[in-house]
Symmetry: C2
DNA sequence: GTCTATAGCGTGATAGAC
DNA sequence: GTCTATCACGCTATAGAC
C-alpha cells in the first residue's frame, strides 16, 4: 500500500490513456509498463474506474478553484480572460496527459464522478460567460453574442494539447501571447467595410 | 444484402458512437436499436471497424475536396477562410454524429484507413496554413505566428459540434457570422495600448 | 436476410500462496 | 506487495438451419 506506487500507477495510466484511450488500455498493459502483474495493481487501487477518477477529478477541481478566484478579483474582463488563458496554457504544458484524459475520457467516469465533473464544467462555462458579459456591459468588449464567443474560446483553450507541441519554438509565453492576440484582438488588418 | 439496410446501420452506428463512444457500443447494442440480432448485421457489413471507416473516411475526403477547391480559387485570404468556416458550420449541423466520430474515434480505424485519414488531416492543416500565410504576405492579415492562428482556428471549427446546439437560437447564419467576427476581427473594443 | 447457438478470445477483478 | 491461477463475463465474429 505504498502511496508513491499509487501515484506512479496513476501517472503511467494517464500517459497510456492519452496515447490509446481509456477503454483500449488494459490493466495488463498498465501493469506491464510498471514491470508488475495486473493483479498486483489492486493492492494500490481498487478499480480501473478509480484510476480515471483520480486523474480527472483533481484537475477539474483545480480549474474550478482558479476561475472562482479570478472571477472575484477586481479586474477588467480582458485581464480576467488573460489570466484564464495563461492558466490553461500552463496546465496544458505541465499536465498534458491528465488534461487530455479529462477532455476525452470523462464519459467513462463512474456515475458519481461523472455527475460532479459535469457540474464543475457547467459552472466553469457559466463563470466564463459572466466575465464576457461583464466586459460587454462595461464597454471593454464589443457587443456580440457572448455565448458564441465563450464557447469558441473555451474550445481553443481545451484543445491546446492537440497542437502545442507540433512546431518547434512554441514556448509558454509565445503561446499565451499568440492566443491573447488571436482570440481577443483578431487577425484581420483592416476590418472590411 | 440490401444497400439501404447498410446505410441504415451506418447511420445508426454514428448516432450511438456519438453518444457512448466507439468502443463502448457493442454490435448487440447496434443490432438491438435496429430491431435485429447482432449476427444479422454481418450480412450487410463485414466488421465493426468497417462501419467506423465508412462513417469517417467519406467525410474526411469531403473536407479535403472542399479545401482543395477553395485553395485554388482566386480569392483573398479572408474570403477563403470565410468559405471554410461556412463549410464547417454546414457540415457540423448536417452531419453532426459522423463529424463527432471522425474527431473522437479515428484512433480506432483499421491501420490503412487510419494512415489515409492522417494524411488527409495533415494536408488540410497545411492548406489552411498556406491560406493564412498568403493573407499575411498580401497585407490582408496582421503578421503573427501563422501556426498558432491556424491551429487555434481549426480547433474551434472542429469542435463546434460540442456546443452549437447548447443554446436556443443558434442558426447556421448566426453561428457563421459570430465565428467570422470572433476569429477574424477580435472581440476587444479598443486595442490596449 | 434473419435466426439460434457457439466458438474463441480478452477483459476486470479475486483468492490464496509466498 | 507481488505472484500464479482462475473466475465470470462480455466481446466480435462465424456456422448452419429456416
Amino acid at each position: 500500500m505504498n502511496a508513491n506506487r499509487r501515484e506512479q500507477i496513476i501517472h503511467m495510466a494517464a500517459n497510456l490513456f492519452l496515447d490509446r484511450g481509456y477503454t483500449a488500455v488494459t490493466m495488463r498493459d498498465l501493469a506491464q509498463e510498471l514491470g508488475i502483474k495486473a493483479s498486483s495493481l489492486y493492492n494500490h487501487i481498487s478499480s480501473k474506474e478509480e484510476i480515471l477518477s483520480a486523474i480527472v477529478m483533481g484537475l477539474a477541481e483545480e480549474f474550478s478553484r482558479h476561475i472562482e478566484q479570478v472571477a472575484q478579483e477586481d479586474w477588467g474582463s480582458v485581464a480576467k480572460m488573460e489570466a484564464l488563458i495563461a492558466m490553461h496554457v500552463d496546465t496544458t504544458l505541465d499536465k498534458t496527459s491528465a488534461l487530455a484524459c479529462m477532455n476525452r475520457e470523462w464519459k467513462f467516469l463512474d456515475p458519481d464522478s461523472r455527475k460532479r465533473y459535469l457540474e464543475l464544467r457547467n459552472a466553469y462555462e457559466a463563470q466564463f460567460l459572466a466575465i464576457v458579459q461583464q466586459g460587454m456591459r462595461q464597454g471593454e468588449l464589443k457587443r456580440r453574442d457572448p455565448h458564441i464567443f465563450s464557447y469558441s474560446t473555451l474550445s481553443v483553450l481545451r484543445t491546446l494539447y492537440h497542437w502545442y507541441n507540433k512546431e518547434e519554438g512554441f514556448s509558454k509565453e509565445k503561446i499565451k501571447e499568440g492566443l491573447v492576440q488571436n482570440l481577443l484582438l483578431g487577425i484581420v488588418e483592416r476590418p472590411l467595410l
